[in-house]
């Protein structure tokens, strides 16, 4: 233990709480509180109501929830497939080409999401790839944005994988494809599900690129939340935000359950 005196320890903990609670816990609590209220003019919200949630779980909002879920699911599956393929291919390359591939696939992290949105809008608004106005332009942009994260986590997992397994498999007469399918991918499964969860969460909350290119009939939750707050419906916006967080958390929880099962099998 770094600090031995009791007094100093308590002092540190107090500072920690004073910093941590208002900065990190408070925002979430505020949004949660507001989602059940109609007014907030004092220290606490007032006018408890469930109306915000009634509004947040039907009609437009319900459709936005499905839109977000479908978008995030499709985008993460695409990103995971592309990212895993790329990471596996990169692992087989020489040192220098691997570095180049790392840089290439991490590039979307460095490029502002708004610019990714603009680029996708510019590129897919003209033939031969006319996606503008369809849900696919949103899904494509999301997939581009989260592929980097899938690539990064899978690549990290591959370097952690003990080469003894694939070598044992090869010495037993298994071709590279068989080794990949029966040994490497199953061993990577926990990392793959973790990457999938990350991609899903990022896509669920994506706003920047989406604002650039969502068609009217494909409005994900973050856009709806912005629209609500923009017209002053802060309390409804909070309720939708809570729905967004809850949906994300539920999927993450399911994924982590799957992960524990995968690693204990």
């Amino acid at each position: 233990m770094l600090v031995h005196s009791r007094k100093a320890r308590w002092a540190l903990w107090t500072v920690f709480l004073v910093l941590f609670l208002p900065l990190f816990a408070l925002p979430l609590l505020v949004v949660l509180g507001a989602s059940f209220a109609t007014h907030w003019s004092g220290v606490l919200p007032s006018g408890p109501t469930g109306a915000n949630y009634r509004a947040a779980t039907r009609g437009e909002a319900l459709q936005a929830l499905t839109t977000s879920l479908v978008t995030a699911l499709t985008a993460s599956v695409l990103a995971l497939a592309a990212g895993t393929w790329a990471a596996l291919a990169a692992a087989a390359l020489g040192r220098r080409s691997r570095k180049a591939m790392d840089a290439l696939f991490m590039l979307p992290v460095a490029v502002p999401s708004v610019v990714v949105g603009l680029a996708v809008l510019v590129a897919f608004s003209r033939p031969p790839m006319l996606l503008n106005g369809t849900r696919w332009i949103v899904i494509t942009a999301h997939a581009v944005l989260v592929t980097a994260f899938a690539y990064q986590s899978v690549a990290a997992a591959i370097t952690r994988l003990d080469p003894a397994y694939e070598q044992a498999a090869a010495s037993l007469g298994a071709r590279p494809g068989y080794v990949l399918w029966r040994v490497r991918l199953p061993l990577l499964l926990p990392s793959l599900t973790a990457a999938a969860g990350l991609c899903f969460a990022l896509s669920m909350g994506e706003l920047s690129a989406t604002m650039m290119l969502y068609p009217p009939d494909w409005t994900p939750l973050p856009v709806l939340i912005y629209a609500a707050t923009d017209r002053g419906a802060l309390f409804t916006g909070s309720a939708i935000a809570v729905v967004l967080m809850a949906a994300t958390l539920l999927v993450l929880l399911a994924v982590s359950r799957l992960r524990t099962r995968a690693s204990y099998r």
């Binding site: 990190f24 991490m106 992290v109 502002p112 999401s113 610019v115 603009l118 590129a123 650039m212």
Partner: protein
């Protein structure tokens, strides 16, 4: 895999007398791994690199058509661009500094002065990362908004409100690599230093900080890039006074339909971010190696 699979012992009988051929020892089929790398690269090219190239092209094409530097001249000379550039950079730098200090302190307490529930807090940090950034601004709207708890609407429309939101949202991005790095520090080392009479600040400076430097560099540069690119936090403040480069891209493209102008700002923004990101990769490789 598209490889003909001869059975294990087909190649039998190809007896070769001893010293016959001691050559041909280059790696077999070196082009094959490259071939496997091509499909994902092509895909990335189609949905990311090619669109990005189109943005660059369009930034040289004013609405009147043809190739021209006019869009650059127009945008770079405009006052709004200069202000946005300045706001973006100083906000990002200040937010990064804030995140580094705050993240280091908090991670230090979680890792080395653990309290009951410290693990839960560490888990909470992980969950926090999976929420969208604009939630923070949404909450701040209630706290500092017109009728809010503190009730100074002015604050949110200034850059300081954005700064507070960015520090709040991005600090966990510094904490996570730090916590990972701290878990690699041998507690025996700290106990040994303590038993030799070193006081806490000295241990932090001499043992913990050097170990944490790569993580700080990595987390800090990531946060710097993310702050430069942040859009949701700024958008949700609804403040007209705070315009950053990503906001300018959005405004020009969607609100004003000035695509060449938007593309110019986008190119500048990408150059700054990618340049910094490249620098980060070089620095972190140095620090890591």
């Amino acid at each position: 895999m598209a490889e003909v699979a001869p059975q294990v012992r087909v190649v039998r009988g190809g007896s070769r007398p001893g010293g016959g051929s001691r050559r041909s020892h280059t790696a077999p089929r070196p082009y094959k791994p490259l071939l496997w790398a091509l499909p994902p690269i092509a895909l990335l090219g189609l949905v990311f690199l090619y669109p990005l190239a189109l943005v660059v092209r369009q930034s040289f094409q004013p609405d009147t058509g043809g190739f021209s530097l006019q869009p650059y001249a127009d945008v770079l000379a405009s006052e709004s661009f200069g202000r946005a550039l300045w706001t973006t950079v100083w906000l990002a730098v200040a937010a990064t500094a804030g995140c580094l200090v705050l993240g280091f302190l908090l991670a230090l307490v979680i890792a080395f002065v653990p309290f009951p529930g410290a693990r839960t807090v560490a888990r909470f940090v992980d969950v926090y990362l999976s929420f969208p950034s604009f939630l923070i601004t949404l909450a701040l709207l209630f706290i500092y908004g017109g009728t809010g708890i503190v009730g100074s609407f002015r604050f949110l429309t200034t850059p300081w409100g954005v700064l507070l939101a960015e520090i709040t949202y991005f600090t966990p991005f510094v904490m996570r690599p730090l916590l990972a790095a701290f878990s690699g520090i041998d507690t025996a080392q700290i106990e040994a230093a303590g038993s030799l009479g070193a006081r806490a600040p000295r241990i932090v400076r001499r043992i913990i900080l050097p170990e944490a430097l790569p993580a700080l560099a990595a987390g800090g540069s990531l946060v710097l890039v993310l702050c430069l690119n942040e859009f949701g936090i700024v958008l949700f403040t609804g403040a007209k006074g705070v315009t950053t480069l990503p906001m300018l891209v959005y405004g020009k493209a969607i609100l004003e339909s000035d695509y060449p102008g938007a593309c110019v700002v986008a190119v500048v923004n990408v150059l700054i971010s990618v340049g910094l990101y490249g620098l980060y990769r070089v620095v972190s490789r140095r620090a890591g190696a």
